[in-house]
Symmetry: C2
Subunit: 144 residues, 2 copies
Amino acid sequence: MVNICSMIGTSAAPDQVMAALNTIEGLSSWWTVHTSGSTAPGEVVQFRFPDGGPDMKVLESSEHRVVWESIGEPDEWLGTQLFFDVSHQDGQTILMFKHSGWAAETPFFHHCSTKWAVFMLSLREYLETGKGRPFPNDVQITVD
Amino acid sequence: MVNICSMIGTSAAPDQVMAALNTIEGLSSWWTVHTSGSTAPGEVVQFRFPDGGPDMKVLESSEHRVVWESIGEPDEWLGTQLFFDVSHQDGQTILMFKHSGWAAETPFFHHCSTKWAVFMLSLREYLETGKGRPFPNDVQITVD
């Protein structure tokens, strides 16, 4: 099993970062505008892109942590888990992110690694300026 | 051992991408402006940032591939290898990147994963527009 790791630091308070992770409004402000469902533990959040998108079951949603499991497409994500851990360190709020449990370092793994960083930067921009770059306004990493 | 993977796709030709990877001028256009040394196999390229920076021994530099080994600081990079593989697929040039051989998924591993994506996007911007965002003009991922 292999994992994608990422992190950002921000001047936003920890509870602001958590709100971007545990509310539909927050999530739709940095990942995809097409976000629906419920962020409560045991519930499912739907994230949509042009060719479908993941359904995430909320395994944990506590004061400083959100954990999801991908229960649908894409196939390579099925059963993978996503961890968001928020802490305050050295005068800033740190978000550590891990998308764990991939079977192999496939081309799609490489693609998603870059794209998760793109969305972490979108999240950071949202926290700092009030405006992120969720899909369909996300930074492109390949030729369309 | 764990690895950081990333990728970009660009309309630039494969030889343009290779020139960004196997010349000092190219490398200084997307990673750090403070780049010196020699990109020939067996030689060493120095990349500098405010607190020092890596020395990379060129293990391979062929038509579609560049491989380096980090022979100095930072400590967590010592002995790690960096692979850049260029191919043409589906009407675009694909660069697959891997920074392999890290000991563990440390906070610095998370940091570098995000930062490599930042520099891959800088490289893509350089290839597409002629102007990248090498240090000291790189996108920040934490509060300075």
